[in-house]
């Protein structure tokens, strides 16, 4: 089998307002399949962690008011967990859910009412799907913190690599 043109390039991240992050990506698949991969626990387990670790849990109760919870063990050994509640579900079209990062110290943790909202839309154009994930936060500080978390995870990975190198030199 020849390599299929699966890669549609990088995710595009833009910042439409001070409180938002917009992530977009085109997929070479119809939207009902992208929706399925996005909402089926055993499929989510295969992609959500990227190359940064293994997902140990993906729970999805796909109904308005239902909750989800994802747990991954990052390559460095630490656990990262998120959960949220579904606010709106239009099958194959749109999902609105809250997303709470569970790693915050208790005193800094936000009330659930201020949790960021993820608005995901699936738009099909000629057999391809444009996925747009809009992260709507309650403040610029929170938005920046979310952007920063990527930085920290990336740095953590670098630290881990550094540690491996250091150990190998002993």
């Amino acid at each position: 089998m020849t390599a299929v043109g699966t890669s549609s390039g990088t995710a595009t991240v833009t910042l439409p307002t001070d409180e938002q992050i917009l992530i977009t990506r085109e997929f070479h698949a119809p939207k009902h399949l992208v929706y399925k991969a996005w909402t089926t626990p055993e499929l989510v387990k295969r992609w959500w962690a990227g190359h940064r670790g293994q997902m140990t849990l993906a729970e999805i109760d796909l109904r308005v008011g239902g909750t989800w919870r994802y747990v991954m063990t990052a390559t460095g050994g630490f656990e990262v967990a998120f959960h949220g509640e579904y606010r709106e579900i239009i099958p194959n079209e749109r999902i609105v859910t809250t997303e709470v990062f569970e790693g915050m110290p208790e005193e800094e943790a936000l009330p659930e009412s201020e949790a960021p909202l993820n608005l995901v839309t699936f738009t099909e154009v000629e057999g391809r799907t444009i996925l747009a994930l809009l992260v709507q936060t309650s403040s610029k500080e929170l938005r920046d913190m979310i952007l920063n978390s990527g930085m920290e995870l990336g740095m953590q990975e670098q630290m881990d690599v550094l540690e491996q190198v250091a150990v190998s030199l002993r």
């Binding site: 299929v4 699966t6 890669s7 549609s8 990088t10 995710a11 595009t12 991240v13 910042l15 001070d18 992050i21 992530i23 990506r25 997929f27 070479h28 698949a29 399949l33 992208v34 399925k36 991969a37 499929l43 295969r46 992609w47 959500w48 962690a49 990227g50 190359h51 940064r52 610029k140 920046d144 979310i146 952007l147 920063n148 978390s149 990527g150 930085m151 920290e152 995870l153 990336g154 740095m155």
Partner: protein, 123 residues
């Protein structure tokens, strides 16, 4: 870790400065080269004091540099100061790029399975 905190704080300041749409517009204009204030005022359609205010914020975080040239004040982009912001978003972007690459693999499986189901359905 102190380093990480210091870097995050600096980046946040610059980031906030750049987050304002008018200021992003100014940076876009300056990306084309050095410009006097009057030029920016004309291009933006804003009053001079407003433009000066935005330029001051951008200067404070080092996003733009200014020099006097005769009677004019010329502003230019400082790419070096903007790089951390670029990197910051890029790292977040990389997380999603990785996820989506894995998702591509899942989708290929789903497509293959669906085609297989179609074929068996027609037999």
């Amino acid at each position: 870790m102190v380093l990480a905190v210091a870097r995050a704080a600096t980046t946040t300041d610059a980031f906030n400065a750049v987050a304002e749409p008018r200021r992003r517009q100014i940076l876009d204009l300056l990306a084309g080269g050095e410009r006097p204030v009057n030029d920016l005022v004309g291009a933006l359609g804003l009053a001079q004091p407003q433009v000066s205010k935005h330029l001051r914020v951008l200067r404070e975080v080092g996003a733009v540099d200014v020099r006097d040239h005769g009677r004019q004040r010329l502003y230019r982009l400082n790419g070096h100061a903007l790089k951390p912001i670029h990197d910051w978003v890029k790292t977040y972007e990389a997380t999603w790029t990785e996820r989506f690459e894995q998702l591509d693999v899942v989708l290929e499986d789903l497509k293959a399975k669906e085609q297989g189901d179609d074929r068996s359905g027609h037999q």
